[in-house]
């Protein structure tokens, strides 16, 4: 990999372009809900185009960041996102909509800190698990980032934003799994979740809300409504779709048709072919990401690239699973396509970093070597300390 990956940029362009088209398609027919929000035909489309422009600027900035800078920024970014997350609850700064407080006022728009948290967490985890202090067979090493995740999740649940909680959980566990931590630690975490599941089972109302995705037709008017409408949209599309702009389900039958459920409208207008096209783009994006990661010698960069790719891929995957009724219905935007600036900006920043990291930079390499040298010395010291308590330190050397 001598040069930066053009493929990543092309896919990003296709996805954002396609997204903008779909946003125009889903919001240009004014529905009473949109009119109440003061929308005109181009209202959402213009705002989304503006976000895309800002997104590319942020992508360019992220592209300029050196990996070492990113590594240094890990902790500050985590703290900043924590502060932003808390600001949501401050009256005057926090903005609530639809019964949830997820946004902070950011003239001329709003920002959703929980989107930033995902990226901050990825960078933090990449730094954490690549550091020499991290021990794969230490439960303490395992539980520390889990604790950080819990703190964020606790705040996010108060907003509430279950979609972000879900993707944060998957992301964190995936990163720790990659780090080589013991499977039994993850098992313990799963066991710890069982009481929560039991508690949910004891509250039938809430339980039904969550399980309605299994059979939405049990309660078609309330909990199952959105999912049924999503199915109808997809089913109505068939193989080739009803054609661009001809969706019926976007006519306020399917709630959130321009945000979390935009994929259903893609399916309706472009059919199975269009839907698979989008999925393939995400698969390629993810595949390029892991290829880049595999080529990296520097551990932090490897984890960072994997983490950012996972962040995008997992969000897309969860979104697909939600709209097709395979996991409970939770609000989560489809990266690059859904309307919603915060998600787009964060994902654009991630792409910016990925493109930069796909490039084999000479400086970086020498920098890498210097760092590695330092680390090796550090490790030797550590391994001596290790041997006092443990029989071997093979894991460290394997890395």
């Amino acid at each position: 990999m001598e040069r930066q990956d053009k493929c990543l940029l092309i896919i990003t362009l296709i996805l954002t372009g396609f997204g903008a088209l779909m946003i125009y398609s889903t919001t240009s027919v004014l529905t009473p809900v949109l009119i109440k929000k003061g929308a005109t035909e181009f209202f959402f489309f213009k705002r989304h185009l503006f976000t895309i422009v800002v997104g590319f600027i942020i992508m360019a900035i992220a592209y300029r960041l050196k990996p070492s800078v990113i590594e240094k920024l890990a902790i500050p970014l985590l703290i900043i996102s924590l502060i932003l997350l808390l600001l949501v609850f401050v009256p005057g700064i926090g903005v609530s909509a639809g019964g949830a407080r997820r946004w902070i006022r950011l003239w001329p728009s709003t920002f959703q800190p929980s989107e930033l948290v995902k990226m901050a967490m990825v960078i933090f985890l990449a730094k954490y698990i690549s550091s020499p202090d991290y021990k794969t067979d230490s439960f303490i090493s395992f539980i520390k980032p889990i604790g950080v995740m819990f703190i964020f999740q606790l705040i996010i649940i108060l907003q509430p934003d279950f979609g972000a909680v879900m993707s944060l959980t998957f992301l964190t566990i995936a990163m720790l799994f990659l780090s080589g931590t013991r499977i039994r630690y993850i098992g313990i975490l799963v066991l710890a979740a069982i009481p929560v599941i039991i508690k949910l089972s004891l509250e039938p109302y809430r339980f039904r809300r969550i399980t309605s995705f299994i059979n939405p037709w049990e309660d078609p008017q309330k909990t199952g409504f959105q999912l049924i409408q999503s199915f109808i949209a997809l089913g109505n599309g068939g193989l080739t779709g009803v054609g661009l702009g001809s969706s019926k389900q976007k006519l306020s039958y399917l709630p959130e048709s321009h945000t979390d459920f935009i994929f259903s409208i893609i399916g309706e207008e472009f059919g199975l072919i269009g839907a698979i096209f989008v999925i393939i783009l995400f698969i390629i994006l993810f595949y390029r990401g892991i290829k880049i990661a595999a080529s990296k010698k520097y551990i932090f960069i490897g984890y960072l690239v994997t983490g950012l790719s996972l962040m995008i891929a997992l969000q897309a995957l969860i979104n697909f699973a939600v709209v097709t009724g395979m996991v409970p219905t939770k609000g989560l935007p489809l990266p690059f396509i859904s309307y919603g600036g915060s998600s787009l900006l964060v994902n654009m920043a991630a792409i910016g970093m990925l493109i930069r990291l796909s490039k084999k930079d000479e400086n970086e390499e020498t920098e890498d070597k210097n760092i590695i040298k330092k680390k090796i010395i550090k490790r030797k010291v550590e391994s001596r300390n290790f041997k006092r308590n443990y029989k071997g330190n093979r894991i460290i050397f394997e890395r």
Partner: protein, 566 residues
């Protein structure tokens, strides 16, 4: 990085993407039809736009059924705001309790009727209340300006303009035309996004063969006769004998078309075509026509009926009066049962049956009104020993008044069996003729000579010495035949001693017939004979009808005022 784990994780994630694709194939290909149907059900709605039914007019364009534009009030539960004071006023205007109105309004949905087709003043008052969520639609209410007139022909429609009886039912598809429904696409809020052109669609207009004035005449006279004889029911049919056009058709009891839904079954029955009776002497046309057409007899052939009775199969059938020797013509004129049975025996059962069928007995006439029955006559192989003594004089057969009228029309028109009908034309809203029924089927069944000969015989019925002298009118010859039959008591299955059906069927002017008419009076009290009960009704109607139709008076020999019963 742990390479093995990276491979596992990446594989799991890419595999998950493929699971999504499989799920999509399931939803979008295998469940495509079901889901696409659900989508269509949601956004396509067949809107009833109130098409204006075509109007129904008589043969001279007088309106018999038309539409009134009335307001209906509906409620949109999503916009409805409850204001108790206004609700109270609304309830009192609609003559209901406030709770009853609230009970009608569901929480879900966007549309519910509160009141249909209200009086204009009432609707205005409700409009002025300006209650949120209440809306108004103009609907067409079917209105029958002549109330009871021709009720059994016109029929009526229900509150949603669904056809229930008569022409309204039989010609419903023409009256509705193709209109009445428009397919619209709508969003979840029920707002219409696109639709066919919503204009007021009018159905086709129907021109009846009925003449309102003639209809009024027969209804008035039938009503008079009904009260005079305290009869249970009655039917009169007036027809153009050449074309089969029904000029008027009335039954009593009848009903007000504007209150059609509350009429009982007896009032709604179109007895003229749905009820069978034993015709009695009017059925003697069968042996008369048969004998003449087969050239077995001439009008002056002689019959000795002086014994006043004839034994058939061990049973003696008697005449009302004893006659001496009668010519064939006199047998019909005086309605001699003995003579008729003798004619019937000469004709034989096979030919008797053949002529009965030829004259349309036991067959539907094909009139364009719902509910016609065929009646029945037994085929010869099923006759009993006494049948030859019963059938020639109109027993052991069941006919409708219309069948008998059609048979006599064949005599009037020179030998053709016509198809009775009540619709003359169907006219589109823009005035084009869509269908015309002026040339309905007409089959020659007997020679014109036979018809002419029998016509002369029928003329003698209303002349001195005949049973139907009360049917004769000044200025024109009447040809016809009386009929008196005992009704069968349903309990005993035997002939009733009290219940009779009196009838008179004929046409006028006899030599150049303009109208053929049958009068049937069920269960008259005081008098039973057709010549006494039905013949005067025929006369009174014919008198008025001929002057309305401006039929010229013919030269006619003076006729003494002697009344001979039967």
């Amino acid at each position: 990085m742990n390479k093995k784990r990276a491979v596992i994780l990446n594989t799991v994630i890419i595999f998950s993407f493929f699971i999504v694709i499989f799920r999509l194939v399931d939803l979008m290909i295998f469940n495509h039809k079901i889901l696409a149907n659900s989508a269509r059900k949601q956004y396509i709605k067949v809107e009833d736009i109130q098409a204006r039914r075509g109007i129904i007019v008589d043969r001279r364009g007088r309106e018999l059924a038309l539409n009134l534009e009335l307001d209906s009030v509906y409620c949109d539960p999503q916009n409805f705001t409850r204001e108790n004071e206004k609700l109270g006023t609304l309830a009192s205007l609609m003559g209901q309790k406030p709770e009853a109105i609230l009970a009608k309004i569901p929480e879900q949905g966007r549309f519910v009727w509160l009141g249909r087709k209200m009086e204009p003043e009432k609707a205005e008052k409700i409009k002025s209340l300006k209650i949120n969520g209440l809306g108004f639609l103009t609907e067409a209410k079917r209105y029958y300006p002549k109330s009871n007139l021709a009720s059994h022909i016109i029929g009526f429609v229900g509150v949603d303009n669904q056809s229930l009886e008569g022409i309204e039912l039989k010609y419903d598809k023409y009256l509705k035309a193709n209109g009445g429904k428009v397919i619209v696409e709508r969003d979840a809020g029920g707002r219409i996004l696109s639709s066919g052109v919503i204009t007021e669609i009018k159905g086709n207009n129907i021109v009846l063969t009925i003449d309102e004035v003639l209809q009024q005449i027969i209804e008035k006279e039938l009503d008079k006769a009904m009260s005079k004889w305290k009869a249970a029911a009655g039917s009169v049919i007036m027809m153009d004998p050449f074309t089969g056009e029904i000029l008027a058709l009335a039954n009593l009891p009848d009903y007000d078309l504007n209150k059609g839904s509350s009429a009982n079954a007896s009032e709604r029955r179109n007895r003229a075509i749905t009820d069978c009776y034993e015709p009695g002497s009017t059925f003697k046309i069968v042996i008369g026509i048969g004998a003449l057409e087969e050239k077995i007899l001439k009008p002056n052939s002689l019959f000795d009926v002086s014994r006043g009775g004839i034994e058939v199969g061990g049973k003696t059938i008697r005449d009302v009066h004893k006659y001496g020797v009668l010519t064939f013509k006199e047998v019909i004129q005086k309605s001699s049962n003995v003579g008729s049975i003798m004619v019937g025996m000469k004709l034989g059962k096979e030919r008797l049956y053949k002529y009965a069928k030829l004259l349309g007995i036991g067959e539907k006439t094909g009139i364009d009104l719902p509910g016609e029955v065929s009646g029945w006559i037994r085929p010869p192989e099923k006759w009993s020993a006494t049948s030859i003594g019963a059938i020639p004089i109109g027993q052991e057969v069941a006919v409708t008044p219309l069948q008998i009228l059609r048979a006599y029309s064949a005599v009037a028109n020179g030998g053709y069996l016509v198809t009775p009908h009540v619709v003359k034309e169907i006219i589109s809203p823009d005035g084009r003729t869509i269908a015309s029924f002026n040339d309905r089927d007409k089959i020659r069944i007997i020679s014109s000579r036979t018809a002419e000969t029998f016509r002369e015989i029928l003329k003698s019925v209303t002349e001195e010495g005949g049973t139907g002298t009360l049917a004769s009118i000044d200025g024109n010859d009447v040809a016809g035949k009386t009929g008196t039959a005992q009704m069968i008591n349903p309990a005993t299955k035997r002939y009733s001693k009290e219940k009779y059906v009196s009838s008179f069927v004929g046409f006028v002017p006899a030599d150049n017939p303009r109208i053929a008419m049958i009068v049937v009076i069920y269960e008259p009290r005081g008098q039973i004979y057709g010549g006494a009960v039905a013949a005067p009704v025929f006369r009174d109607i014919a008198n008025q009808a001929l002057s309305y139709l401006k039929v010229p008076i013919e030269e006619k020999q003076n006729k003494p005022d002697i009344v001979v019963m039967r």
